[in-house]
Subunit: 328 residues, 2 copies
């Protein structure tokens, strides 16, 4: 049985930089100090008016394919994880398949909010292990949440940002690569945060627009212990399955929403905080793109060595959680 290995990594953000000071004017108050101290965000990037998620995915994907040293015709499957798609239908993946001329690739989008990228890598790993027709799979996490933000909602507009990250996963023999994974959902939180209008539950109308129901809303405040608790439990379960200790892992790539939650998780696991690579200070919160963007940042800074043990943990609306261990 083949195992999936990460053989190419790429990422991209739009050119339009939005410093914290941008919100001084739009919100009429100074949010910079709060953002730096509480979520460690100094700036983020947003699409301009003529950019959307496919533009980000396209560039990230090209970089990952170049990094892997493969051409468009080598890709057997394209999976895009996003809850900010290019269109409602068809899939964003069909758009990218066309733009990149991936003529041999089947396509689909996967949505489990910000747990989507780790889940999509898991799906790709399953295809490679279960079916030897799949040699190279392109997995993209794309996020253009700026398009769904209420510019007057301080709770969302200051946090969420745009970007894309991509990996090529390739079939390899041997013991390294995708080791094990876990998907969990706490569906009782599905109404707590989301974009609730604009789909079949509440089709868009003038009233929906006026209420901003077609935009991202935090409906309830999540218990702040929830993420660190779930992340710790999932990491420990994966360690147990692999007969490893948390500190045997070299790098942790965890959803880049709140650096305190990541630090708390690392403390729970008894692993030094520096092993959790973070990029939210530069990029804000980029949802289904944040984990491959953090991976790419570590990669381009020469932090990853062949044989390193990587732990991925994503969580997002739903609430959905995905964790995976990879020997790079």
């Amino acid at each position: 049985m083949n195992r999936a290995q990460i053989t190419g990594i790429g990422a991209h953000v739009p050119a339009r930089e939005i410093p914290n000071s941008y919100f001084n004017e739009t919100l009429g108050e100074d949010v910079d100090a709060w953002l730096r101290e509480n979520v460690n965000i100094t700036k983020r990037y947003w699409c301009n008016e003529n950019e959307s998620v496919a533009d980000l995915c396209e560039i990230a994907a090209k970089k990952a394919m170049t990094d892997a040293g493969i051409g468009p015709e080598d890709i057997d499957l394209l999976v895009i994880s996003t809850d900010t798609p290019e269109y409602i239908s068809p899939s964003t993946a069909s758009v990218i398949q066309d733009r990149l001329r991936l003529k041999n690739a089947g396509t689909f989008d996967l949505n489990t909010a910000c747990a989507g990228f780790v889940t999509a890598m898991d799906v790709a790993a399953k295809y490679i292990s279960a079916d030897d027709r799949y040699k190279h799979i392109l997995v993209i996490g794309g996020y253009a949440m700026s398009k769904y933000l209420n510019q007057k909602d301080k709770k969302t507009v200051t946090l969420f940002a745009d970007g894309a990250g991509a990996v090529v996963m390739s079939a390899q023999e041997g013991a390294s690569g995708w080791l094990t994974s876990d998907l969990q959902t706490r569906g009782e939180y599905n109404g707590w945060m989301g974009i609730y209008g604009g789909a079949t539950h509440q089709p868009v109308t003038a009233e929906v627009l006026a209420n901003h129901d077609h935009q991202l809303k935090f409906v309830h405040k999540f218990p702040k212990e929830l993420n660190p608790k779930m992340w710790t439990e999932m990491a420990l379960d994966i360690c147990k399955r692999l007969n490893k200790k948390p500190d045997d892992f070299d790098h942790f790539f965890i959803t880049q929403l709140n650096f305190n939650s990541i630090n708390e998780t690392m403390d729970n696991l008894g692993v030094c905080r520096e092993k959790a690579h973070m990029v939210m200070d530069q990029y804000g919160y980029t949802g289904s793109a944040c984990i491959p963007m953090a991976l790419e940042d570590a990669y381009k800074n020469k932090k990853l060595k062949k044989g390193d043990l990587l732990m991925f943990i994503g969580s997002g609306g739903g609430l959905a959680f995905a964790a995976a261990a990879v020997q790079y």
Copy 2:
């Protein structure tokens, strides 16, 4: 390596029946004769104002689980195929996970338009074969396109309808179950049919509403030979891989958009037309739900026998295509 077998089947449509005559009034012309002669549709079902896709998925899923003889806690993964989701975010699957109390199930939605259900079954089959932690996976195809229809657009409003179908796929040893599959995309058609407004390419505004860009549109007319040609080629390729003849298959479940395209495919394959089970006369076109709805109709009419060879072929916007062979 375990193989996935279909162990439970269920389907559901809303109570609100819309006969062809409904459109006499809303469109101001008689479309009944054209619909009967050209697409073999006599009626369809639409959600009422207080229903949406999750309501349909919930009931279809319960029926499939009852049919499989398993409880909510037995489901290890829930995949919902839809391009008419409950919300933009989070996933429809997280809603259903909560409603059905599938506490051990990870969740995600999959969107590759109307090729989604066969693709989602393929994903489930890969999980079962690649990872022995997955024993039972619930796969749902849900469709509530009525919520995205322009009531004055004759080309779409008369065809599209609502419904849901579900299967439980379970790990089994032995040679029967999921045999092989194929995913293909012709991304050059991604702009031909879809719901192009309301996502990141064109966020909803009053102007988008006025132009009906948040609703389903046929932008170009598809070459009518495209589906039969692709379906025939994919079926023949699967036969070749399995060393079977098309006529060795007992049932064909093909996207229920146009009965002429299905008949043409069966003629191309040299298989009697009766082996392609059709339900569009009763239900209209139900997109990502139509294939499990056809499967359920054949099942409840006692057409399926253990050991039967089933061919599934789905196609939809993107254009995306998915085919699979299953020994039931």
